[in-house]
Symmetry: D2
Subunit: 366 residues, 4 copies
């Protein structure tokens, strides 16, 4: 089937494998007239680049993006924007061993079951590099949202047992530490935890959180296209994500109605506002005007140096230890991917909402 | 926008409001030749019926389903199956008060912001009755899965702080208690907890868990149409669901790679099997042949008798207390809805998978 | 597969068989706030009713529509509008003979090949009654278009060899004759032609033409979602339609560039206008502000009383003569169906166009 | 909106402008295991190359395709196949004049109305070069069809008033003359006609015909996703196409039922066969096992050297004469595009059909 597109009227289609010629994305449905240049995209791609700290792989990859279409004289034309990052060292090493067995926690086995064989070089289509297209498209979505006064803040909420303390939340700190945590103290503690993981040939999971500010109320749909349902799909489609929450998420299951309901009050400006935000900015599938808050649970890096049990293609049980340098934690590099997928989902919802009422329709066309 | 359809080749379209003439669903893409009668559907609808215990609303609703099309001489014809449940007492009471203000935790406010006005009778399209169409369609999906040897077990995992103990898991117990818990002792404890909630004019949240057995490996897609991403959307599209997990879910964020990776081993029959199932049956977006395990976090019933603060349409801050009898917990009635949405998602994925390889294509057509 | 939906953001889903319990449609994506009642729909359904002249089947069918959802206090709510026409005499006659062989020109054979069996009563899902859902949905689309100043005129252009003369075009005449021809003289001639067809146990084809006035320029898309491409699909999806033209259509293939190009000039009001309209109102897939003109070729009624050769399910060659009264021409009853499908396509295109530019987006949301 | 994708489970997404960096396509949903190399694609692209006769533009363009993803060790992997043709001389000439006015018969005006501005270089996204992506994707679709025993023959049926005589039909002749006509005598006559058009600074339209052999019966859907409806959209989405016919097309409108119905008979092998093929291989929206025959009406090249009237962006009426060398007829280069779009549509229909019956489903999965 065709599973490499996301979105309905703001639609992205990604392609490419870890060690093929390159990776890219076609962004279709971007409105005409948005100022756009390669630097806008590159800034986002740089946030997911490896080699930025001792917790990310030291591979040298420039990941320089090229815009191949859809922009003319510095502005989007309304036609598809094709972007590509060419791979620089496609044939760097011997993957014959990895081709012979199924790595635990990876998609090797399921790829073989679905397609009969697989491009085993560096994970192929299931590599973390698959997110390059998502992030490039997300850069455009974020720019569209900014135009409408909507902004996103995304960061590492926790790494293993170490959680950023909400009381220490400091947005500026996010870009000060290589873990993208909004709490300097927690970042230090997480650093020590990751060092201990590495020394034990082990890896760690963590949680990414994203906050959206400025989203108008009434966006999303009340049934299958609930805004939170689409956000869930967007976030869960990122490799290694195993859980999704909106607002209080799983804590809401343990709460009572008195605690969980958000009271409505009038703001200083006379507008309706919620006093609390357990709902995470979405009621009945539609944005309620308060901050949208979502979280993704990211599993530990499956590639670990410790010895593991698996099976090879000859049908033998074997012991393996994944060679090469691998990030001991995926979370920091997933931050920008979560932001990208969130932004893409919101833009699509905003566009789809434009025909919600006859009033809006008549205002637009008459 | 059109937000009342779900699925690509096995597609359902639901319609109807709580107090309109009825609610229904069109199931399009059901293969021809499936034995189907109204009783097959009614058995599923009965599982979501109110009035079955003291924790569900005592409203008398028969919710008798009629199949209007797509079945001929006891078999599906391949054309759309239209099903309807007519509402029996549409004009039972006066909703003018509820129309005047925004109930906390409900979609009243967001509906008004999106559409300019709303059908305020009993929640309109946002009522729990909206799930009738989902469950009727789910009954068909479950029947298709059974034909392929795939079965689902769905139950209440927890209510408020009371969690079913996995060591006491008893599948037969699920239908023995009105809470659909697989652990008689936990069910008793949860009953006491709900009684205390009710006495305090309060309500409780909880968790639904679904286990899928017999799913073949290799179903789903490696990028945006990951099987778990589509399950997340399906489950998060159910009203009141605030979180979704696959396998270890948020616990994976706190785990290490050594603990979280599932080793591959050979089964007695020589097939590849996983020794553990932290992944919840899905690797890289595709089923891995082990049980698929998912969970939904359900928030507490927002309609509570306790006094709450809100705002009315005249722009005044008021105190309200939601009158009428409401379930103190949504979870037990959500169990069959989670099962239905899971089944619908799996059927669609199985159908879409049929063109994954040239081998399969040639085998089918030549 | 799921093939009973049409449209992207204004989406209709039809269901029902000729002799099942009823036929209906779910219209999803209709903006909130449109005044709508059953009479609005019924007026359109009456235009496709049988029994209106001696060229339509004398079957007594009231085809009274019921709106089951999506309308509250006389206005659409933005949620799906479910409409149904219940069949009145489901078990009227014995279809065992028709079940045993393949009628030439009908879908009997292809249904059996695709689905393994079929609902043979009165054509089942392939009956002309399948258009009830299209027409009911089209009534809503036409009403939306009227609100925006867009109107449609649809009529019988030709029947067999008899063509309405453009010089005699009289819009008021369309509803004066049972053939819906805009030329009284041609209508008389066509009447005589149809009488001769009937006396020879034969039937006739014809052409339906639709003119859209008031469509703003710039609607549609330049590549796959060209407005004329979507109109072609919409019209060709109507049973018995074998050809589609926009503007000069097949005559353009015989023309030269000098003749076929439409010159641009300035109108009295200073706006850009085309001097001629060979293009039929669409250039490069987008509306150009002039009238949209399209035509559908409708084949002769395949059910004829004359003796025909066919094969039965026992694998024998037989001679058959289709019993019962059948319209000698489908065209007049197809007029409203062409109008409905055209309107549905235009509404969807107008909605999708709203996010074409950043200017429009900012104007809408800020 | 996102209008650059076509297909549901075999989906193509094209991008690129005439004078941008390049043009390309992402083919998503191609089954794993198809042998594929760049030469397979290049052979198709060469059929649409300019500079092949005195009736095609003498521009030197190599249009060499590169496969960037989705193929590993000579076989498709099931993941998206990204293909690109880089433009070689992007900045060759001054387009400032063309930017200032609306060329008659082109999309200049409608682009400006929709998007506010346009990439005016060589037609931008509306250039004939947009078909590069379609043809590259079509090469893959044709290869899949061949594997299933399905073949396509596509050719120029007529140019202006000159029509290939069916009695002279010679499939081998198609590639013998630069007009791709299957009748050497008609090709000579058409050549003389085109020379006269050129001498008068004029251009000609024509008709492309495509015949599909070996299509199994029962493919397609009975309502909106009729196989002929999807073919109509596919073909009408090609620039310059103004009409579409299946089988007898518009001639069916002038025919009677006796003439138009195809009798069913038993073939020598006992299978059901049609004695004639007025239906063009499709009954009720589904293939009937006989040849599928379709035609596209292609308008005359709008770019002509003759003086034409138009309006410029300053709001003045002006006279223009389109400079540069342009093909006096689009038809020969459209032949491979019609074949490509037909093949893409058929592959999608074949894939979607796999879940039509429970029998097929059980056979596939058990």
């Amino acid at each position: 089937m065709a599973g490499s597109s996301f979105g309905t009227v703001f639609k992205i289609t990604t392609w490419g494998e870890s060690h093929g010629k390159g990776l890219g994305v076609v962004v279709d449905g971007c409105p005409a007239g948005l100022s756009l240049c390669e630097e806008d995209i590159q800034l986002f791609l740089n946030r997911r680049k490896p080699g930025q700290s001792r917790f990310t792989t030291p591979r040298k990859e420039d990941d320089a993006v090229e815009i191949l279409s859809g922009v003319f004289e510095g502005k989007t034309t309304g036609t598809p924007i094709s972007m590509v990052v060419f791979n620089q060292n496609q044939k760097s090493k011997d993957y014959s061993e990895i081709a012979s067995y199924y790595r635990p926690g990876h998609a090797d086995y399921t790829f073989d079951k679905k397609y009969g064989f697989r491009d085993y070089r560096g994970g192929g289509r299931s590599s973390g590099r698959e997110t390059i297209g998502r992030v490039a498209a997300g850069a455009i979505a974020v720019k569209i949202l900014h135009t409408l006064g909507i902004s996103l803040t995304t960061y590492t909420k926790s790494i293993g047992p170490v959680c950023a303390d909400p009381r220490n939340f400091d947005a500026e700190e996010i870009n000060n530490n290589p873990l993208y945590m909004p709490d300097a103290k927690a970042a230090e503690e997480a650093t020590r935890y990751l060092e201990s993981c590495m020394s034990e040939l082990n890896s760690s999971g963590g949680v990414v959180e994203c906050i959206v500010r400025g989203m108008p109320a009434g966006i999303g749909d009340p049934v299958f296209e609930k805004l939170d349902a689409n956000l869930a799909k967007a976030i869960m489609s990122i490799g290694a994500v195993k859980g999704f929450e909106i607002g209080d998420g799983f804590a809401a299951a343990r709460a009572t109605g008195r605690d969980n309901n958000d009271a409505f009050r009038l703001g200083a400006d006379g507008t309706v506002q919620k006093q609390t935000n357990h709902a995470g900015g979405i009621l009945g599938g539609m944005s309620d005007g308060s901050d949208i808050i979502l979280r993704a649970s990211v599993k530990p890096t499956p590639s670990i140096a410790a010895v593991q049990q698996t099976v090879n293609k000859a049908g033998e049980e074997i012991d393996v230890s994944i060679r090469g340098r691998h990030d001991p934690v995926i979370v920091p590099r997933a931050v920008v991917v979560v932001e990208a997928m969130t932004a893409i989902t919101l833009v699509d919802a905003l566009f789809l909402n434009m025909s919600a009422t006859m009033d809006g329709l008549e205002r637009f066309y008459r």
